[in-house]
């Protein structure tokens, strides 16, 4: 059962990667990256169980944190650039 889950997770990660390459708008790519990150968290946790190494859970927690921060950072970046553009167009 764990093997089935691992295989599904890897498949889903590949699918997210396809969307990440293909997605027309930038937000699609952000979504794909976020999806990839959360699936990696689950993959590490499941692999930890498969290999019998509970230390992997620390890494899973770390990935979850980094994934969250990256997504928020990208969105703040968009907000900043949009605001700068608006500031410039409002001045004109």
């Amino acid at each position: 059962m764990l093997a089935v889950t691992t295989f599904t997770l890897i498949l889903v990660m590949a699918m997210a990667l396809i969307r990440g390459f293909a997605g027309p708008s930038i937000f699609d790519r952000v979504l794909a990256a976020n999806l990839f990150g959360t699936k990696t968290v689950l993959l590490i946790a499941v692999l930890g169980f498969l290999f019998g190494r509970p230390e992997f859970l620390d890494i899973a927690l770390l990935y979850a944190l980094m994934n969250f921060i990256s997504v928020i950072a990208i969105l703040r970046y968009f907000e900043h650039t949009q605001k700068a553009e608006e500031g410039r167009s409002a001045d004109e």
């Binding site: 990660m13 590949a14 990667l17 990440g20 390459f21 930038i26 790519r29 952000v30 990256a33 990839f36 990150g37 990696t40 993959l43 590490i44 692999l47 290999f51 190494r53 230390e55 992997f56 620390d58 890494i59 927690l61 770390l62 990935y63 944190l65 980094m66 994934n67 921060i69 990256s70 928020i72 950072a73 990208i74 703040r76 970046y77 907000e79 900043h80 650039t81 700068a84 500031g87 410039r88």
Partner: protein, 317 residues
């Protein structure tokens, strides 16, 4: 998947896509490290390569612009040079013993000694930490010095804004109420997790570097929502400068105390009556020094980058 991501990074013109692909690349390499059973390396790679590096790149992009400039000249000489060097390197690896072979010198002499003797000599379960902190303590000292130097370099290039005496209401994220509240709830556990990783490095994956990065990530999260000004009230740049230097000083002082106690520089066994206890104390203190310096330098670099951005916004107004 790694190969595809790398090709994507090189070929893509949109720099945001490059940043995200770099993040995905970081996650993938960390997964590989986990598969190869190198848990500590995966930890550090995840923290730095997948979290902090894309973050800093994004900050740079916010000032520079999204599209990569078209590179008109095609430099054949450079391409040839890179190809030849790469080919030489690859041919060189054929001479190396096979991956994981039992006859490799690293596996016959160095690694078994560490594995067999580290329990008796140092006595902590995590052999990676014992190698990093005690057997190769000089290397780690050099690494901390490098991080500190990088921080100084960034400081000298981009000056740090001094903490303002009055704090205006934060400009950016006022309407992001959900995100602010959630981050207020999340940040204390994140900092706690950083401390856990720091002190648990003896027994599980972790140690100073990873803990420093996690701690910095917590503060960066706070800065992203409340603005650099408010964040500087909490963790001011003067404190950061002192802390960055203090970490390196702590590390060096352990070495000096060892010398004062009659041993060589960074020989922890002489720090207490029982050599094992001495090793434990030494490792604990230097990991603390590493963690403090890494956290302080990361937050300092982030402040420098983010401060540039708000300076640019002010200059435009």
């Amino acid at each position: 998947m790694l190969f595809a991501t790398a090709i994507g990074i090189v070929l893509s013109r949109d720099l945001i896509a490059v940043v995200m692909l770099t993040g995905i690349y970081g996650f993938l390499s960390a997964s590989f490290f986990v598969l190869m059973d190198a848990v500590d390396v995966a930890f550090t790679e995840a923290a730095v390569g997948a979290g902090i590096s894309p973050l800093l790149m994004l900050l740079t992009l916010a000032m520079v612009g999204r599209k990569e400039q078209a590179n008109r000249s095609r430099n054949f000489f450079a391409l040839m040079l890179v190809t030849i060097t790469g080919a030489l390197l690859i041919i060189g690896t054929f001479g190396m013993p096979e991956f994981g072979s039992a006859n490799a010198p690293a596996h016959t002499h160095v690694a078994p000694r560490y594995i067999e003797q580290s329990g008796a000599e140092i006595g902590i379960p995590n052999i990676v930490t014992s190698v990093l902190a005690s057997y190769r303590g000089f290397d780690t000292f050099g690494e901390v010095a490098v991080i500190f130097t990088a921080g100084i370099g960034v400081l000298s290039l981009l000056m740090l804004k001094p903490a303002p005496s009055q704090v205006p209401l934060s400009n950016g994220a006022r309407h992001h109420t959900v995100l602010r509240i959630v981050s207020k709830i999340l940040i204390p556990p994140i900092l706690l997790f950083a401390l856990y990783v720091q002190f648990h490095g003896d027994y599980g994956p972790g140690g100073g570097f990873q803990a420093g990065v996690i701690f910095a990530a917590g503060i960066i999260l706070y800065t992203m929502f409340f603005g650099v000004d408010v964040a500087q009230q909490v963790v001011s740049s003067a404190v950061l400068r002192v802390l960055a230097a203090f970490g390196v000083l702590l590390y060096g002082s352990v070495g000096l105390v060892s010398m004062l106690n009659g041993g060589e520089f960074l020989n922890y066994s002489v720090l207490a009556e029982n050599p094992l206890t001495g090793q434990h104390i030494g490792i604990l203190v230097i990991e603390l020094g590493v963690g403090i310096t890494v956290a302080a330098v990361m937050v300092m670099i982030f402040y420098c980058f983010a401060g540039q951005q708000s300076k640019q916004v002010e200059a435009e107004e």
